[in-house]
């Protein structure tokens, strides 16, 4: 406990690990149970029965729910600690500035003062460490030593696993754990059908009727636990690599849960689609990671930002860093500085330029400062350049600017995949094949928001070019998805497209500098979209897994709690004043209006969200009206419909309450007064303010004392605040039109079942538009024609090449080898072996012939003896005679 009070950041680490513990516990139990089932002994049988036996029990749900609930409690405690230590962060910032200043003193002061400076520096660093270790910690994870890191810094080759708690983390933790807890509770009710020993899947046909399988209650919670761990780890991470690992983990959880009923062809297809689409995004992510690793040499967010963004003050720690670029004063603090590498008199200089092809890297070992001898002397432009304390700049002090853009875009492509943004949005609607709580948790509230979270987290990494891409991608996504949602009849598909659309809002907000607005909307959206999904889940559960709205209608009296809580959700997403969605969505619209005010050429970025606000209202009300009001369209469904049990309705009520008031503050009508907004605002990196301007009145200067804002007339932030009323009004009008049309088209009178306007007529009047929307803008067809079919064609070519070319070569060489071997075998057999055999048989023949000499008869031996004697005698006498003669 003392460790926790010393380092309250560990509360969040504990909150992250708890679901992991639950996951490990469940999977171990599952393994044990399987093992026990496999072997047949009394002990094993007992173990099998103890561990659940053949029938899935609720224990898994209780374990997982308890873990995530404890996680929430930990997060809450951590958050309270965090709130009470608020001043620490400012202090750290100040101390860091001081340390930076002290480090630069070494170069200016005489040598005899160095020990003194060093001592001061140590004190400051110790204080920084003490304060930081409260909320920051990391341990070495892998050290891929070798020549791959940059030369400058030994840390470059080390991968860390760590945590860093700031406002964003805290808010995300509370949101994720709270919603996850509620969804766990909801799932206990929703998944109860999986408790049966044998579940019949009516959507899968086998040779002998429907598929029958064991209930997968425990497995569901197992996956949920793994997901919760991964998501929390993603939010907790202090470096991009850890994020990436968690990113993939949530991806696999999503894959597993979409394919929960993997026997259904549609489910397994959807899981594959989600996984493959996400891999496309991840390819971009990896490219971004590689660029960052190569040029910056670290994955730690803080270190990356420090490297690519200029410090707030010059190396003297006094003046705000600014310089004259292309004839005008430009503040440099907290900005990405572009420069040209110029060689002058044999000395390398980085001369800042608006169009420079290099991005300056402010590594901690290279102190840069602007040679600015006399601020008043503006005529002498030659003095404006960045200088290194080291004699020369080298390749590690800057990186190609386009690669920095590419890195940002790469990371963003990853986010596009995860957050289902245009053009990779196609997987999310299909992902609705998963159980509804999964759709609510993963595919609405948390995982898909991870893309938005990462864009926000890595915001300082994005250059202006990357940000405008983000804004447009968001804008296109939110409009396209909303138009498709109009014509969907599957209740979950409507919500899925709505989710895509809302994520587009967040991306748009981040792209136009509304960092706070984007995150704000992310949090409020998580609550109301989780609510909407759970409500739809409740409806689906009540209607016995009927998802088509064309078979619903008039369900209000049957399921009042669901209907009312869903109405709350609809009102929130529609932007009804004082509901949480109103604050966040209007803020986004205001931010985009402020942006468009300064960049009129990007007027679409305002037009699209406003129009879409109306469309959103229209389709959400359409959905609600079609489901709950009017005359029942399908008698059978209506008669069997019933309200869901308490485990499901209570989370709905809780979420409804949160949906309404999570963004409240005092006074109620002022979005800037919202507590949640304030908390997020405090977490905003000052780089956002540097890029898009901030306002001193809001206390934004406190966080970054050395920051020089844009001129107020050129500040998007200023205009966003100033034009908030106008944006609010336009969004409200659009929403109002949407509501009116929804009621006209879809509100049936209960008796006649007639609407004021016939949707059929509207459909017939705009057949082209309807077809476009109904076919989801033909994205699937487009991808099929552009990617899938060519890919199939290419694979067929590859296959043909494989079969004819490669296999031919292989078979040919094989045949050659066989022939050669046969020939060599012949030589071996008849020539080599023949020789050997010949020698052997000759020896054998001689031996067996000589064998006969050994008769074994003593008498013949005697005879031989005599003969030998005669022979010896004859030879001897011959030689003696020769000798005598010679």
């Amino acid at each position: 406990m003392s460790a926790l009070s010393e380092q309250p950041g560990l509360y969040f680490v504990v909150a992250t690990i708890l679901p992991m513990v639950s996951f490990l516990l469940l999977i171990l139990t599952a393994f044990l149970r399987h093992a026990a089932r496999a072997c047949d002994s009394p002990l094993c049988n007992t173990l099998y029965r103890v561990l659940g036996g053949g029938r899935p029990g609720r224990t898994a749900a209780y374990v997982a729910t308890t873990a995530i609930a404890l996680s929430f409690v930990c997060s809450l405690v951590g958050a309270i600690h965090f709130a009470s230590h608020g001043q620490d962060h400012h202090r750290i910032e100040e101390l860091k500035e001081e340390a930076h200043h002290l480090e630069s003193e070494f170069a200016h002061r005489p040598v005899e003062e160095h020990p003194k400076i060093e001592k001061e520096l140590q004190t400051v660093n110790a204080e920084i460490h003490r304060l930081e270790s409260k909320w920051v910690g990391r341990i070495e994870w892998a050290n891929p030593a070798g020549p791959y890191g940059t030369k400058k810094d030994a840390r470059a080759s080390i991968l860390y696993v760590g945590y860093r708690i700031d406002n964003l983390t805290v808010v995300m933790f509370l949101m994720v754990t709270l919603i996850a807890t509620l969804i766990h509770i909801f799932s206990i009710g929703y998944m109860s059908e999986e408790l049966a020993e044998e579940v019949e899947d009516h959507q899968v046909h086998t040779a002998d009727g429907h598929l029958k399988r064991r209930g997968r209650f425990g497995r569901f919670f197992l996956f949920l636990s793994l997901f919760c761990f991964s998501m929390l780890n993603l939010v907790l991470a202090d470096n991009l690599f850890q994020v990436f690992v968690s990113w993939e983990l949530v991806g696999i959880c999503s894959y597993l849960l979409i394919g929960f009923n993997y026997e259904r062809q549609s489910a397994s297809n959807a899981a594959n689609k989600a996984f493959i689409t996400n891999r496309v995004g991840d390819a971009g992510f990896v490219i971004g990671l590689l660029i960052i690793w190569t040029y910056i040499g670290t994955f730690n967010f803080e270190e990356i930002f420090k490297t690519i963004r200029a410090p707030l003050t010059d190396s003297h720690g006094v003046r705000p860093l600014r310089t004259k670029i292309d004839g005008e004063y430009v503040p440099l603090g907290a900005r990405i500085v572009r420069a040209n590498l110029v060689v002058e008199d044999g000395e390398k200089k980085l001369v800042p330029s608006q169009t420079g092809d290099q991005a300056v890297l402010f590594s901690p070992k290279v102190h840069l400062h602007v040679e600015d001898a006399d601020p008043g002397d503006e005529t002498d432009e030659s003095k404006w350049y960045l200088k290194s304390f080291y004699p020369d700049f080298d390749s590690t002090d800057s990186m190609p600017y386009w690669l920095l853009v590419a890195a940002g875009l790469g990371i963003f492509v990853g986010c596009v995949g995860k957050s289902a943004q245009f053009p990779l949005h196609v997987w999310l609607p299909d992902a609705m094949e998963g159980p509804t709580p999964v759709s609510a948790l993963i595919h609405a509230a948390t995982m898909v928001a991870a893309g938005v979270y990462l864009v926000a987290r890595a915001f300082p990494l994005f250059t202006a070019e990357a940000l405008i891409v983000i804004a447009y991608v968001g804008g296109i996504t939110l409009f396209v998805a909303a138009t498709i949602a109009i014509v969907q009849t599957d209740i979950k598909k409507v919500l899925a497209y709505s989710t895509v659309s809302q994520l587009g809002y967040m991306m748009l907000a981040l792209g136009v500098g509304g960092w706070v607005a984007g995150i704000f909307h992310l949090i409020t959206h998580a609550f109301f979209k989780a609510l909407l999904f759970l409500c739809s889940g409740s409806v689906i559960f009540g209607c016995h897994h009927e998802q088509e709205m064309t078979k619903m209608g008039g369900l209000f009296p049957k399921m009042k709690i669901t209907a009312l809580t869903m109405l709350v959700g609809v009102l929130t997403i529609a932007g009804t004043p004082l509901f949480s969605g109103w604050y966040s969505k209007d803020m986004i619209v205001a931010q985009s209006l402020g942006y468009v005010r300064l960049h009129p050429e990007h007027f679409l970025l305002f037009l699209l969200p406003v129009v879409t606000a109306g469309i959103t209202t229209f389709y959400m009300f359409r959905m609600w009206l079609m489901t709950f009001t009017g005359k029942p369209r399908d008698k059978h469904v209506f008669e069997h419909a019933k309200e869901s049990p308490a485990t499901m309705t209570i989370p709905l009520i809780v979420l409804a309450v949160f949906s309404i008031c999570v963004a409240w503050g005092w006074p109620l009508h002022d979005p800037e007064a919202s507590h949640l907004n304030k908390v997020i605002h405090h977490g905003q990196p000052h780089h956002v303010l540097a890029d898009f301007g901030g306002l001193a009145e809001l206390g934004e200067l406190e966080h970054a004392p050395g920051l020089v804002f844009k001129h107020v007339e050129r500040s998007e932030r200023y205009w966003a605040l100033k034009l908030h009323g106008l944006a609010e009004l336009s969004a409200f009008v659009a929403a109002g039109i949407g509501v009116i049309f929804a009621f006209l088209l879809y509100y049936q009178s209960r008796q006649t079942g007639k609407t004021r306007l016939d949707p059929e007529e509207a459909r017939e009047q705009f057949p082209g538009v309807y077809a476009l929307f109904a076919n989801k803008w033909y994205f699937d067809e487009l991808y099929s024609a552009l990617l899938v079919r060519p890919a199939l064609r290419v694979s067929q070519w590859c296959k043909a090449f494989d079969l004819r070319g490669i296999d031919g070569v292989i078979n040919g060489s094989g045949r050659c080898t066989v022939t050669l071997s046969r020939w060599s075998g012949w030589v071996d057999r008849y020539i080599v072996d023949g020789l050997v055999n010949l020698i052997a048989s000759v020896s054998y023949g001689v031996g067996s012939w000589l064998r006969r000499v050994q008769t074994g008869y003593i008498r013949s031996y005697v005879l031989f003896l005599v003969l030998a004697a005669i022979g010896v005698f004859a030879i001897l006498s011959y030689f003696l005679a020769m000798a005598a003669a010679g």
Binding site: R851, V853, Q854, G856, I858, R859, S860, V862, V866
Partner: protein, 103 residues
């Protein structure tokens, strides 16, 4: 017509050849033994003849002959024992039944 050494030696050679042939042609084990006796006798004739004709060999020739006679007695005893054993084992004195050494 004096009887020279060569006459005696030829007699010895004849005895020797008879002994050798006896060993080679008799299938009876005891016949073989007799052949050995004949061979030894042939040698003895030579020894004694040389002792008689060579004064330097006068003593040794006779002594060696004596030794040979003793050796022949010993050899006969051993050979008979072997033949008896052979007979015990093969129920015959036919040396051709002892073909264990056949290659």
């Amino acid at each position: 017509m004096t009887v020279t050494l060569t006459h005696y030696l030829v007699l010895g050679a004849l005895l020797f050849v008879c002994g050798a042939l006896c060993m080679a042609l008799k299938r009876n084990g005891i016949g073989v033994l007799m052949g050995v006796e004949l061979v030894l006798n042939g040698a003895n004739v030579n020894f004694v003849a040389l002792a008689h004709f060579n004064p330097a060999f006068a003593v040794e020739g006779q002594i060696f002959a004596l030794f040979v006679i003793v050796m022949a007695a010993a050899e006969a005893a051993i050979a008979l024992a072997i033949v008896l054993n052979f007979y015990n084992n093969h129920l015959s004195v036919d040396v051709d039944t002892a073909e264990e050494l056949k290659g």
